[in-house]
Symmetry: C2
Subunit: 167 residues, 2 copies
């Protein structure tokens, strides 16, 4: 028995992007209320050698737009990593959601067996579509999404797991 | 196009449980080296109203054992939440991995359309198998796995994303 790749790389990530947008909205509200400085949110990190909040959100969106594109054989759109406000991060989340919405189930015919090649900083990954999806794309998406959430929790912003899972 | 439920709830989680065991081993090593007190690791949290490290690891294992069981129509084994050391947490991870290994692909026939009913603290979830898997089981598994990892990073334990994704 199987689950549809479309649900895995389109429907579910769209729901999580909506949740992320809501969470970013709560961060904006905390800044507007004077509880936190926007700069402190944007550059929050849990360890000195860890990516900051801004980079975590950029990476969530990267791991939302790449999987449907790579699995459907479509070019992955590039967004420059230059957001400098929560509003700009929300805008990026919105743009990626619009891109993800363009996919149709039929585009994923044969995707599980398609070879996916990904150039990384220091090596090239070459995997079957289903291995890429389950062993790389999904864990990375949730890794950065959860880390972004955890950073805001650590800063005292009032969010809970329902904001994260939503829908 | 689809991916096998077996790969989603057996093969991939088994790899992540192995990775989690490795990460717990690095935490044990940091304690043995005198860098951290075991109690401080076990009870670390990122916010005062958030579950501590011990509970996060218990929840990762809960969200590893429940999905294959519920989707295959097998009773979910219960483990008392009473681990009080890193060694005991590793033992729980190992026991859950042994349980997950007992499943065969054929047990997931019809699972995507099976109705899954989950009693929560304050409500009952009643969902189609595929919705349970993608919208509840997977996000929860990665949520608690990433949070456990993030807590150790925050404590300064030398782990990186490759320890998390592994395999």
């Amino acid at each position: 028995m199987q689950v549809a790749i479309f649900d895995t790389v389109v429907s579910t990530p769209l729901r999580m992007l909506r949740n992320l947008d809501g969470i970013l909205g709560k961060a904006e509200a905390a800044v507007a209320d004077g509880k936190l400085k926007e700069e402190d949110v944007l550059h929050a990190r849990l360890a000195p050698d860890m990516f900051d909040f801004t980079r975590q959100v950029q990476l969530v969106t990267d791991f939302a737009k790449s999987p449907p594109a790579r699995l459907a054989g479509v070019e992955v759109p590039k967004f420059p990593d230059e957001e400098a406000s929560l509003a700009q991060l929300r805008s990026r989340v919105g743009k990626v959601a619009e891109f993800v919405k363009t996919f149709e189930p039929a585009q994923f015919e044969g995707a599980a067996d398609r070879q996916v090649v990904i150039p990384l900083r220091d090596r090239t990954l070459d995997m079957k579509g289903s291995d890429y999806l389950l062993g790389f794309a999904q864990p990375n998406f949730y890794f950065h999404y959860t880390t972004a959430y955890a950073l805001l929790r650590h800063l005292g912003i009032e969010i809970g797991k329902r904001d994260f899972i939503g829908g």
